[in-house]
Each structure stands twice: as C-alpha cells, then as structure tokens.
Symmetry: C2
Subunit: 312 residues, 2 copies
C-alpha cells in the first residue's frame, strides 16, 4: 500500500484501521507470536479474527513452521477458539515444500528429508516418495564407512526442515545425494535462526540446519518459507489474491514483513511476538535499502487492537 514511498510503521489507530481493513479482502496471518504463544492464544485475537471473517474477509495462515501439517494447524486454530478454518487456508512450509517438490521433481523421483513427521505426512499426501525422517546412526566406525552407506537411486532432492534428529550421519547422506549434481535439488523450508519458546528461551531453528547442508554441498538452497515469495505464490495460486487488497500480519521483520513488502502487500506488525518498536526504528533511520525493506506500513500492540475498528 505504501509502495513507492517510504513505509512509516504508523500505529494503526481505529479510524485508520477501519480504512485499511475496508480496503482489504484478504488477510494473511503468521501464527506463532501473532495468534498465539505456544499453547496460549493472544487475548482478543480470536475475537478479532471472528469479526474479520464475519465481514467476509478471506483469512489465510502463512507459517514457516515445518513441524505441523495443514490439518494440524486447522485443528489448533479450532482448539484455541479461532474461527473454523479449512486446511486449505493454511500455508505451512511443510505443505508448501511438498507442493514445490511435486512440481519440480520428475515422476517417481524421491526426496531425502531432514525433518519430522509433519514433513513426511505432507510429502506423502503430495505423493512424493521420501526417506530420512527419524533418528539415524553412523553406518560404521570411520569416514570410509560413512561414505559408502547405501544411497537410494531415485533421490533427486534433499529437503531440509526442522529436524530434532539432525545429526552428522544425515549431513553425510545429504552431501552424498547433493554430489549427484544439479539433478538433485536442495530445498530448505525456511532460514529462521531460532525458535522462541513460551518461557523466553529459544532453540536452534531450521536455518542452522539448512546452512550446515549448504556449507557441505557448496550450494545455496531454494527456500520455501518467508521471506521467500514462493510461500505467497502458493497462496496466490490457490486463491484469487489481489496483492493491493491483501494485508500480511506478522511479528517478525525479516520474514513476515519483508515478504509482505516484497510481494506488494500492506504490512502490519504486531508486537506480541519477537520484535520491538526500537528495532523498527533502527531500520527506519538507516540509509540501507535492505534495512528499509524490513519496515512495515503499520503496527499494533496486538491484533486485538483491531477490535474497535470492527465494531458495528
């Protein structure tokens, strides 16, 4: 909406909110830090979404998290009191990665997966043969054994998602598949450095694992999740989306807001997640174009702040 002119990260007061929401027909929501934190819904968020839906806004959920399927997200939305969503409204990086591979791989080609059950389920639903999820042991005591472990002949992609069983043995196998050359794709679900937990702690994110594989393979991964526009392209190919009438709502500047800005969406930052206004200010005052692209059009303390603008 602020394309062409500098984005100013204005507080979205009720009057402006009425105008901005009135001009939109679709809202894309990041989930963690926006709708909920862990298992606790953000207060008032469910009511805000219910009113948006009552006003016939299309609501979609766009998340880099690769640890849940579309169906699991739909179930969590319902469980936390959000308006009922169909799985097709959910664009998680597991589903979108499977969608990408279904398009990019030749028939019968398989994926070697560093990831968990959700990634496996979405690949299965997309009909893509795959191997890798779960723990893996080193196939022998020394490097010579590791470089001779069996490989599947039909593997044509290495897919890296969040994998708590990530280990050196898997890194070895990933490298060996990728040494087949450009015929073997390298795909990462996202580059998030860390996953914040409810208690203020954080655990290493998928970005650490993607980078380890990239360094070994001396190749750059194709990234599915935000800020890659691929995940938005998935939404736009399944629904009729007019970017000028679409709002991206998120709590992270380098994923949610950057993707929204890059795709010509109106961007709305909520402060219930990982970002503070001071960080935005730093980017806003910078001369660096890449930092300026992290500045949202608007911000709210919480998406519950949209409620007054949605009253009858």
């Amino acid at each position: 909406m602020a394309q062409g002119s500098a984005r100013r990260c204005l507080r979205l007061e009720p009057a402006a909110a009425r105008e901005v929401l009135g001009a939109a027909d679709t809202l894309l929501f990041d989930c963690d830090g926006v709708l909920w934190r862990g298992e606790a819904a953000v207060a008032g968020a469910a009511a805000a979404l219910s009113r948006l839906q009552a006003r016939a806004k299309r609501l979609c959920y766009v998340t880099n998290n690769s640890s849940r399927t579309r169906a699991a997200y739909a179930e969590k939305l319902q469980r936390l009191g959000f308006p009922p969503a169909e799985p097709r409204q959910v664009f998680g990086s597991a589903y979108c990665a499977a969608r990408y591979l279904r398009q990019a791989l030749p028939p019968g080609a398989a994926a070697y997966v560093l990831g968990g059950a959700a990634l496996s389920d979405e690949l299965g639903a997309a009909g893509i043969p795959h191997l890798g999820p779960g723990p893996a042991d080193l196939p022998g005591p020394g490097p010579a054994d590791w470089s001779r472990a069996p490989l599947q002949p039909n593997v044509r992609a290495v897919l890296v998602g969040f994998d708590p069983h990530f280990c050196y043995a898997k890194l070895c196998q990933a490298l060996r598949y990728l040494q087949r050359g450009p015929d073997c794709l390298l795909v990462g679900t996202n580059r998030d450095h860390r996953l914040p937990l409810e208690n203020g702690a954080a655990i290493p994110g998928t970005g650490c694992l993607v980078k380890a594989v990239e360094v070994a393979a001396e190749r750059e991964a194709f990234i599915i999740g935000k800020p890659s526009r691929y995940i938005f392209d998935c939404v736009a190919s399944e629904f009729e989306i007019d970017p000028a009438r679409t709002i991206m709502v998120g709590d992270r500047l380098d994923t949610d807001i950057l993707m929204g800005n890059n795709c010509g969406l109106t961007t709305l930052l909520t402060l219930t997640g990982v970002t503070t206004l001071e960080e935005v200010k730093g980017h806003q005052e910078s001369d660096c174009p890449s930092r300026k692209s992290l500045v949202p059009d608007y911000y709210v303390d919480s998406i519950a702040d949209l409620l007054p603008a949605l009253e009858d």
Copy 2:
C-alpha cells in the same frame, strides 16, 4: 618472499628450489594431501623431508584436522617412514584450540565441546575441564524439555571441532551456553567445508558444524586453524620463527596458501591434494584482491620434486 609484488605461482625447478630452500630455515607442512593421502605416504615425500632435516631445516606440521592429538601425528609420521618428529613440532587444531582456551579462559572455567577424543585429550593435557564429547540424546520429547536440560555453571566456552556425533541436542546445548553472552566464548577449530577421502569421496567438514552453531548463536566464532593466523602464532611462540625464512607447504589455497601469504611466509603449493593449477590460474587472472591472496609463490607436482635440489 614475494610480498609487495604479485605472486606468480612459478614451478619450483631444481635451480630455483636450491635458492628458495637455501634461504629458508623452517618449513611448515600441511599433512593430508601433502605428506600422505589417508594411510599412504606420497611417494618420495619421506625422503624429501629426511634430506631437509639432514640440512638442519626445522620441520613443523600444521594441520586443521582436529581428530588427532600431537602425539598421534608424531606416531603417524613415524609409521609412514617420515623422519622422527617430536609432538612439539606438530600444530594440530585440537592442540592449538586447547592452547587458546588455556590462555583465554579464567581459572576453573570449562569448555562445552562438540568434538571427538583427540580434542578431549588435548584439552585434558592443557588442564581445561570440559564436557560434550561422544553421543548425546535429546533430553525429552519436546522443545520445552530441550531448553531445560541441565547446564554446567562453569562453562565459559563452546568449542566446535570435527564431531561425528554432532546432533541437534548438542546444537541446543551450545546455543544455551552461548546465550550466557560474551562471557561464553565461541571457538571453532577450522572452517573446512569437506574432508576429502582416499577414494575421491568427501564427508562434511568442521566448517558445516561451526556454521550451524554460528547461525543459532548469531555470533561469529574465533577460528583456530588455517587461514587464521592464530595457528601460525602458535608455531612462532614455541619456536624462533623468522617469517621471511619460513616456507608454508600445502595443498589448499584457501587455508594453507592464504595463511602463509597473510603471515608473510613463502608459499609452496603441491598438487598431490585438492587443488589444480587451473584453479590457481583463475585466481591469478582475477582482479579481486581476495582471490589474488590465494595465489602461492611456487608450486610443485609433489614435494618429491624437491629431491634433486637437495642432493649433495
């Protein structure tokens, strides 16, 4: 030796070799790809080193490999027929990392180690308490458990070396120690992307693991091994070294040759390892200063080519 003017990667013919070797009192040798490949000595390499030693040249061994102790390298040199070496002539990244931490850590501080038995042995020899080597399991089913696993209060450094037991659980613990802030150092033995094996295959190198930890911690590691000059400083602090009278002999441009050039040594590339002359040519013809710094002063097909210059 070629400092100030462009290095030209000249073939070291016997006449020039006599002059270059005559002007040197110390030679630093990389090991894998220079003296041996796996368990096979490079033909003629042992004879060349014996003659250098007979001419009272000081021989040191400078290797990024963190999987062997100084003593193990001395034993391997002897086993493959090289002139007897004392452990103190060997500068492996495991030993040098322990040396670094002994200087950098306050008394009683411990290191959390991603690495194997050699790293553990060198840390033990340096009197540094440490934990981490060996396999690690996830301390429970979910992220909340992983972020609550016990931490040692006295850990003040995370040391990342080659670790075939590298896994997500260790990455979590490394991040949690590093979140203690700048009081907890982050040190990597080296950034090698891959370790080449005898059969032409390769396995992921320590650089992949260092990068994964760096991405999680959002910090850059202090690197011990080549091209870092720290490993050369170790040699120079244990022996009286005049860089102008020292030759670095190696097979890798971005580690051996770069370090040698950066430290003002004469650099000699041997083609028995991972580098081809075509790669050197590419750097030589480039306009980029950082690529030019990868060009050695001289090259030989094998260090056995030094033999004629060492005949009486």
